[in-house]
Amino acid sequence: MAETAVASGAADTARKTPLVVRFAGDSGDGIQLAGLEFAKSTAEAKSDFMTFPDYPAEIRAPAGTLFGVSAYQIQFDSDEVLTPGDEADVLVAFNPAALKTNLQNLKAGGVLVVDETHFDNRGLKKAKLETNPLEDGSLDGYQLITADVVKRTIEALAPLELGRKQATRAKNFWVLGLVYWLFGRPVEPTEAWLKSKFRKTPEVAEANTMALKAGHAYAETIELSAVRDYAEPRVAKGKNRSRIISGTQAMAYGIAAISALGKRDVVYCSYPITPASILLHALARFEAGIRTFQAEDEIAAVSAALGASYAGSLGITASSGPGLSLKTEAMGLGVSVELPLIVIDVQRGGPSTGMPTKPEQSDLSMAVYGRHGEAPVPVLAPATPDECFWIMLEAARAAIDAMTPVIVLSDAYLANAASDWELPDIDAIPDIDWPEHEPNGADFEPFARDPETLARPWVAPGTPGHAHRIGGIEKSSGSGHISYDPDNHEEMTRLRAEKIDRLAARWPEVTIEDGPEDGDLLVIGWGSTYGSIAQAVRELNAEGKRIAHVHLRHLNPLPRGLPELLDRFPHAVTVELNTGQLCSMLRSAYLKPVECISQVNGQPFQVSKLRDEFTRRLEALAT
């Protein structure tokens, strides 16, 4: 085989359409880093974009194995980008295993960049390949670009006199340089970032920079003309230089905003769990405003958060499914003593350990119903990385206004997916009001209620003249004294539920995202499926189909306006990364024959799959 090859398979049809790039390799290859740098370069280029890291749970799975493959995908365009894309225009594969597991994600005729270093007997065997795909003709339908990346990286770094192993580590930047050239991206911003990132180890910065430039120069030298059109800029209208934000980082900023706008330190307590730990990492970096606490277990985390709320701060805890199970008893206490608390569940494939790095929406039922006794709590779900910022403020207001624990349902996709982010106008956000109490507690009753919100007063220890006792035993309405009175328990149970239901009046009425106000098919989504549903519905609307999309951010209580919407469409279907949990809730709440498009494979919905599903249903309705 030639040392390099530019095979032109299918004819290049590059118009200024959205582009999708996917990087795949060993989890130790620096795939996520290369992908993130490409995303930053995309932000510099003022395109609209969305990214999706798809990585295994193992930190460093054995090199070259199929289960150790990590991937990072990004879609960018001048128009609004709602998803990381179904199929890639360009796939970068660092080894045979990455090629084998990711080729299905590449469009027919797409560009395939392959590091051929490991396509020897050993590498092929690890990837369980019988023949070498670079030679057996199986890649004929793609525009193949191969390079002996390891060898070329070592050659490029020769002046630094590094060991082979150390030099090889820079190979992701060599490949990144090549990809930059493909898309007409300058290397300078990444070079500057490397310099600042590795300012304490300038030799590492230098090695990576040299590799980056060498890859870029290599691409230029071999003249990859067949794909040069990818370099056409895709500048989004009205876009200033935007920044990248992942759902996790947005959530961290949202929590910071609670502290700044409430003028009270937030106490954030959590126990390490994938994929929620990265939120703890993000918050721990803040030097003020947030008091982070890595607790000894999930129960301690939620208990300490509740203790912090009791003491007048706002306690927040986050976890994933297994942790949410452990937190439920303390959340029940929060419901009983009526204290604010935010519990974030970054959902992942379950049950049990399940698939810790893969998204799923399968904790909805647990969030809404999963506590002993009658213990309703508000449940919110952000739809995009950007909304992860705003949902935290809304959760804080709900928790304080109704004096209740609130669950926020995110997932592994939203936590890791990143998009460009328009900075919020901080001055336009109202304060978060903490209640103040007069130092006169003679008639103070800890379970007297606000007639409008039904919330009880929040009086923290240290407030003069208001010392009182609360606990998980049923309390007498008003005085809060222990009470086993039957009528009182009935009253308190109904008050606690009514208090949550009344939140719906304060929340916005649900509206159609895309599509006609009445029509043939109503699609109901929630959480991270937003982008895929919106894209599919917009495409079908453009074809004249009478399909509409509503997206629920409020799952308990359900938002106002939803039953009326259901009345306006003969057919309604939920789209969920579970087996139909929202669907069951809606059927139960509204007695409507709602159906479900369900997927539980640990992956986000592909737009094409939803298009097919919607189309099939629309056709069935027409006949």
Binding site: Y253, A256, A257, S259, A260, L261, G262, K263, R264, D265, V266, V267, C269, F286, A288, G289, R291, F293, A295, E296, D297, I299, A300, A301, S303, A304, A305, L306, G307, A308, S309, Y310, A311, G312, S313, G315, E329, A330, G332, V337, L423, I426, D427, P439, A460, P461, G462, T463, P464, G465, H466, A467, H468, R469, I470, G471, G472, I473, H481, I482
Partner: protein, 328 residues
């Protein structure tokens, strides 16, 4: 600070209007009385004091005080109290629980509150039985305890609470007994004054399900013969006539009992050093019969308190809108 600080507080100022619902004769009454006295002696307003409890007979404690109180869930009081401290380090926070709360379902939280040295006063009411659930053996019940769940007698080794606390890295470990009304206040005062996690095991008699579990220890007339009262820097003598002594066997690393009159010299009597962790472990291992049970402060060593070490003070946010804009 408020108006209540102006006048001298009395024990009555710390009692609530709630009817106490422990069984008649329960050791908890005696502890409640001592705690109220100690709180009055400490002199902080009830508005600045918080009692956090888990679940069990002992955990009803907050309802019977006039301070702020939070009756939480089984085993988690130390974790909740840690959150209280994180949010407002200025509060005086006490944690009350039984042997089930502290040593069984909440053992993990006890361990971590102690090793972190969170500034809490942790009071373990140890009666070596599950009272509220009607008498099952507990993790501190001696081998052979007959109970509804162990009709043939329990076979498990009990946990030694003081040893557990020392092993967890506690820097303040003390022990008292419910009925020793002149001894217990001093122990609780010391616990309060220690900045960090102070662990106090209070031997408490359950009159219904485990009466006499601690033998003569909490029998005021006999206690002197079966306990040794620890005083830092003082020789370790015990017995009604102070006629028995503890001698430290350097080779074995254990304390041995001797008749004072039989010793060659009084200088052979061990002197209590509450800063010596090895001696503290040796003391914690001393049990009846064979040894007097040590009461008082077994170990006290200054150590940075967790919340202070993290740099958290007050309750207000250091941030405002401008800080948030700068952050973004």
């Amino acid at each position: 600070m408020n108006i209540m600080d102006v006048k001298q507080l009395s024990a009555n100022d710390f009692g609530s209007d709630q009817e106490v619902r422990w069984c008649p004769g329960c050791g908890d009454y005696a502890i409640l009385k001592v705690v109220k006295t100690v709180l009055a002696d400490i002199g902080r307003s009830p508005d600045e004091v918080v009692f956090v409890a888990g679940i069990g007979c002992a955990a009803r404690f907050p309802y019977y005080l006039s301070t702020y109180g939070f009756h939480t869930i089984h085993g988690r009081a130390a974790a909740v109290a840690t959150g209280v401290k994180l949010a407002n380090p200025d509060l005086d926070v006490w944690v009350v629980g039984g042997d089930g709360d502290f040593m069984s379902i909440g053992g993990n939280h006890t361990l971590h509150a102690l090793r972190r040295n969170v500034d809490l006063n942790l009071l373990l009411f140890n009666n070596a039985i599950y009272g509220l659930t009607k008498g099952q053996y507990s993790p501190t019940s001696p081998v052979g305890t007959r109970s509804p769940s162990t009709p043939g007698g329990s076979v498990e080794q009990p946990v030694n609470a003081a040893s557990f606390a020392l092993g967890a890295g506690a820097k303040f470990v003390a022990r008292g007994a419910d009925t020793l009304q002149t001894h217990l206040p001093g122990v609780l005062k010391r616990a309060h004054d220690y900045r960090g996690a102070s662990f106090v095991e209070i031997l408490q008699n359950c009159i219904v399900y485990h009466d006499g579990a601690f033998g003569a220890i909490n029998d005021r007339s006999e206690s002197q013969n079966v306990t040794v009262r620890l005083e830092h820097g003082q020789p370790m003598l015990f017995g009604k006539e102070n006629d028995k002594a503890l001698v430290f066997n350097e080779q074995k690393g254990t304390f041995e009992v001797a008749e004072l009159s039989q010793l060659d010299s009084e200088t052979n009597v061990a002197v209590h050093d509450e800063t010596n962790i090895d001696r503290a472990f040796a003391l914690a291992q001393m049990e009846q019969p064979g040894h007097p049970v040590p009461l008082g402060v077994l170990y006290a060593e200054p150590c940075p308190d967790f919340v202070e070490a993290r740099g958290f003070t007050g309750t207000r946010s250091a941030w405002d809108r401008d800080a948030l804009k700068a952050l973004l």
